[in-house]
Amino acid sequence: MATILDIKNAISNSSARSVVESAIESANDNLEYHALLSVTAERALQRADQVDVGKITGKLAGVPFVVKDNFLAFGAPTTAASKMLENFNAPLQATAVEKLEAEGAICIGKANLDAFANGGSTENSAFGPTKNAFDKSRVAGGSSGGSAVITALNVVPFALGSDTGGSIRQPASFNGVVGVKPTYGMVSRYGVVAMASSTDTIGVLTTNIEDAELVMSIMSGCDKSDMTTLPDYFEISTEIKPNQRVGLIKDFMSDDVDLDVRNQVNKYADKLRGAGHIVEEVSLPMAKYALAMYYIIVPAEICSNLSRYDGIRYGHRAEGVNTLAELYGRTRDEGFVTENKRRIMIGSYVLSSGFFDAYYLKAQKARTLLINEFNKLFETYDVLIGPVAPTTAFKLGENTADPIKMYLNDIMTVPTSLAGLPAISVPFGRDKSSLPIGVQLIGPMKSDALLLSLAKSMEVL
């Protein structure tokens, strides 16, 4: 698969225009996967021409990429894969997109997702699901399914995604690409459609670790428009010290996890040992409660964040209504998919006065216990590893009738999200049906660079 360096070489040997043209052509050749909701050809080619005459320069000059369609970006509507924002033309661009454009990168299209990033398979897109890059009868994973598939199909060397509970890592795992969810606050979320503000993060999907490091180094840092951003601490580390202490999370290796997935994680652990690192089994007993916490806290935040879609200032507005109450109710019924409604209503329930203590407050206290367990482990270990998801990509439609079954796929990605920890998904082998398997590397707060350099050192072995 083409790396950013390959693409830059192709640009020097021909032109940014020809490279961007062929990426657009490749996107159009792969329409059957439904990875993209729009192709921003006109704006992309204009920018490519500016690269070719030297008006646009930078570390990524002329390199095509794709953004998940919950990032505000010019050149096509920002839909969040919803009817609510089907015709919404963003008046500004997300900080992450601006930073990449400032280095010359060229956005060629906007990737499919679960509507408002609510989901784990991209089947909740109001415009139809994305198909897995390895088997079109299977899901792309989600919610950044389109970003994962378009990267896996080699259309672009990288695609942006957002990860609230696994939405970058799980589709990366399902499509055999690298997925990076940074420490909470490392990358600005300004201009990205908010889902759950206490766990939303912005990251990238790439074909290799080195490219992920480059893109993350460009996107990271403080932004006055996102008060939760941390001062820039990310520096690409060039070497990894031997004797890293690695904890293999045994709670993620139960019989509920596919044998092929467990085997690959064990092989990865052996590979780490072979490279001189110390791998030991560790226990994270609170992990089994993380999904229950997540499905209280996150719907509560979704319920608040999606309350802005009222049909008044922007987005869809229902027609033929007489009163304001009717306008709100009908607009939101028409603009949201069922999964959005399900989460909004759970959120309303757990936040309502009679149930607040039993659900929302209880979950936030349990979250503290989970964080304490992680902190305790990080007193002894530098990195934790485990699977990304209990299975490889499942069949389209297999889990849609049972929301809990669908949610259970996130069981090993949500704990890190609730704790704000960085975690990456690294492709490592296939299962018996030749579907990709991902291994998850988890580190303490701000250990993003360590995780990436450790994964990079394993990549070449």
Partner: protein, 88 residues
């Protein structure tokens, strides 16, 4: 269920209400397992990086977006204002 839909400002069809009722019941049943945890004396975590009330100076920041651009995002506008149905 209707009350919950109303709180959520969602006008749902009967069909959808039935499905949602089952799902939401099941999900609330699943999350009930937290009840078995002892959280006495534990502080809740609302924010993971320890931030508290980040303030900024009360000044207008120019994002280069005009009032007209923003008003035009609404479905209906009149004389530079967003138009809505009768409130009272």
């Amino acid at each position: 269920m209707l009350h919950l839909a109303q709180l959520s400002k969602l006008e749902l069809s009967d069909n959808e209400i039935n499905g949602l009722q089952t799902d939401i019941g099941n999900i609330l049943g699943y999350v009930e397992q937290l009840a078995e945890l002892n959280t006495d004396g534990v502080d809740p975590t609302y924010q993971v990086t320890g931030l508290k009330n980040v303030w900024r100076d009360d000044e207008v920041i120019d994002y280069g977006i005009t009032r007209e651009t923003l008003i035009n995002l609404s479905t209906e506008s009149l004389d530079g204002s967003v138009k809505v149905p009768k409130v009272l």
